[in-house]
Symmetry: C2
Subunit: 358 residues, 2 copies
């Protein structure tokens, strides 16, 4: 009944272009503090799991970079996903690896691209969730909302089913898509909703049963791969099978239709660093409301995000503007339009070998 942490460290973070690149994904960056997102993701759960029981799943092209950042993590704990197919196949692949190692394991599915201010409390929440997961619940780590965000999915709490380590745990009534603003306000003021953090805690057997039941094609594919684990056949079989795996998230693929689902609302200073605006909101600002990294001279510049450590940045008359300066690319855009950064990154060939992206 050992407890394992699985850190999902795939993805690139196109909305953080030009700092994030294909060869330098978001989780490998020092965005907050002096450690990378991935280092922080490992460090905050090491006291709970120990290094041996922290697994990482990521893309082949990122394994070396991430392994270098946390050299103390056993290389064997890195699982490579041939290409991203959404969180359901990702979790399924990690699950069969873990079943080979410890079929009775409990598994915490964790992220590497979120900031968590209160790591100690986060570990408490994970410990509480483990107790609930032992009762065969699929447990979601819910985030206590700090405002009516329309950028997250919401989880509706049902009846309270337990209090573990001082934390109330609720039956999950319903998963809700990203809402419109009015709905978000209503949900947040009701006090009965959490944000969906994308972090889950469950017994390994339970999640594999759910996959078998709800995603039989995926389970069949995993069944082809599993016997080859630790053999020379593994890589060729994985490479052959993976492209025909349907893209799916664990939320759609499993959670929405599952029963016996619980949520632990957690107030842990969680923050999704998905875009420049979210990073700007997280970092301390100066008297003009500017978040500045690097050398900046501003005239009448306010509430802007100035990020660069390579040259002096001088600005006049800017308000709510994002400036990100890197060695080979410069981004300038209004904070309000930072979602379109993804489009720039895509134009530059996120999926090709463009020098600007790769």
């Amino acid at each position: 009944m050992a407890y394992y942490g699985l850190i999902m460290a795939g993805g690139v973070g196109t909305r953080l272009w030009p700092l994030s690149r294909r060869h330098r994904p978001k989780q490998s960056l020092e965005l907050v503090g002096n450690a990378t997102m991935f280092e922080q993701a490992v460090e905050r759960v090491t006291p709970l799991f120990g290094l041996d029981r922290i697994l990482v799943i990521t893309a082949a092209e990122h394994v070396d970079l991430l392994a270098e950042q946390v050299p103390q993590l056993p290389k064997a704990n890195f699982i490579v996903e041939p290409e991203g197919r959404g969180t359901a196949p990702c979790i399924g692949l990690a699950a069969i690896h873990l079943r080979r190692r410890d079929p009775d394991a409990t598994m915490a599915v964790l992220t590497a691209d979120h900031f968590i201010r209160d790591a100690a409390r986060f570990r408490e929440v994970l410990m509480a969730a483990e107790q609930v997961a032992r009762d065969d619940y699929l447990v979601t780590l819910g985030i206590t909302p700090t405002g009516p965000s329309t950028g997250y999915g919401y989880i509706q709490q049902g009846e309270r089913i337990a209090t573990c380590r001082g934390l109330d745990v609720f039956r999950t009534e319903r998963f809700t898509e990203k809402p419109d603003y009015e709905t978000a306000v209503r949900m947040v003021t009701s006090g009965r909703y959490s944000w969906n953090s994308g972090m889950f805690i469950w017994r390994l057997g339970r999640i594999l049963d759910e996959i078998r039941e709800q995603m039989p094609e995926l389970y069949t594919t995993l069944g082809e791969i599993e016997p080859t684990l630790d053999t020379q056949e593994y890589e060729p079989v994985l490479t052959r099978c993976w492209p025909r795996v349907a893209k799916q998230t664990i939320d759609y693929g499993v959670m929405e239709k599952a029963t016996h689902v619980a949520v632990v609302p957690a107030d842990i200073g969680w923050c999704d660093i998905g875009s420049w605006a979210s990073l700007a909101a997280l970092l301390p600002s100066d008297e003009q409301g500017n978040v500045v990294r690097g050398e900046h001279v501003g005239i009448d510049t306010s509430h802007s995000f100035i990020w660069g450590d390579r040259r002096l940045i001088a600005t006049i008359g800017l308000e709510r503007i994002v400036v990100v300066d890197t060695e080979d690319a410069l981004l300038i855009c209004p904070l309000e339009r930072e979602q379109e950064v993804r489009e720039i990154a895509q134009r530059l060939g996120q999926d090709s070998s463009s020098v600007h992206w790769t």
Copy 2:
């Protein structure tokens, strides 16, 4: 009665920061076309004067840079001004140099920081002006206005005094300061005003007489310097005298109170490249009205000036914004506020040895 051109190539061009720097002044930059402002200033009058009769006056720290750009120009033709004291002392110093060489010379005072599209016509104008100068006129090269600019001084034409090489020449009625907009509109629509180009044509004896009469202190100082020309005493004497020379422009110091002053209105495609907006107005723009040098990816970006050749510049939702990217400094400001660039340059220590400026 030989005709000489004096190119004033001092100054730095603080409003073109960060491209212009103390060690890399505006006239040394390739702003339009593939030659620097200074190279163009020399090239366009070489057919008229010949290289031997083109003099250059500039700052000590810029002599080598400019001489390298036009190696065919005799090094002896460069006159060094210990520090900028305005155009009157500058012209006076050049005049005593020229008097030593050719006391009967006629002298065209020219600039290096303006763009002139029609160089052939410009030379025609200079030839016409020479004829008028031989009649002892102080001749101003007037620019036929292309709009009611409030950024230039204006010259009011009086009676026509001659027609030389097909160009009408007028007695100058009055020099006018930079006007307000209504005044500018009235002057331009009257058809009797030219912009003051800062270019002048006169007999050497005539301008030195005017300086003696109107600026006796300056003339006395020049008189101390003149006997030391071509001796080892020259530099120490110049260095000692120059700091006590009062700053003054030739317009205030001489032209406004002089009589027997003429203007040759010239339609030569003249453009003052004083700031980013003026350069933007001069250069060809793309379909979105952007002037771009370097690699640019824009979403919803229009009427902006994107200047950089060192990295990709990506912009979203910008309108009328100046972006100038150089190796060690980056400027972002609205076109309308580009006058404040000077303030940035000054803050960074135009007059000090700041790494950002020098």
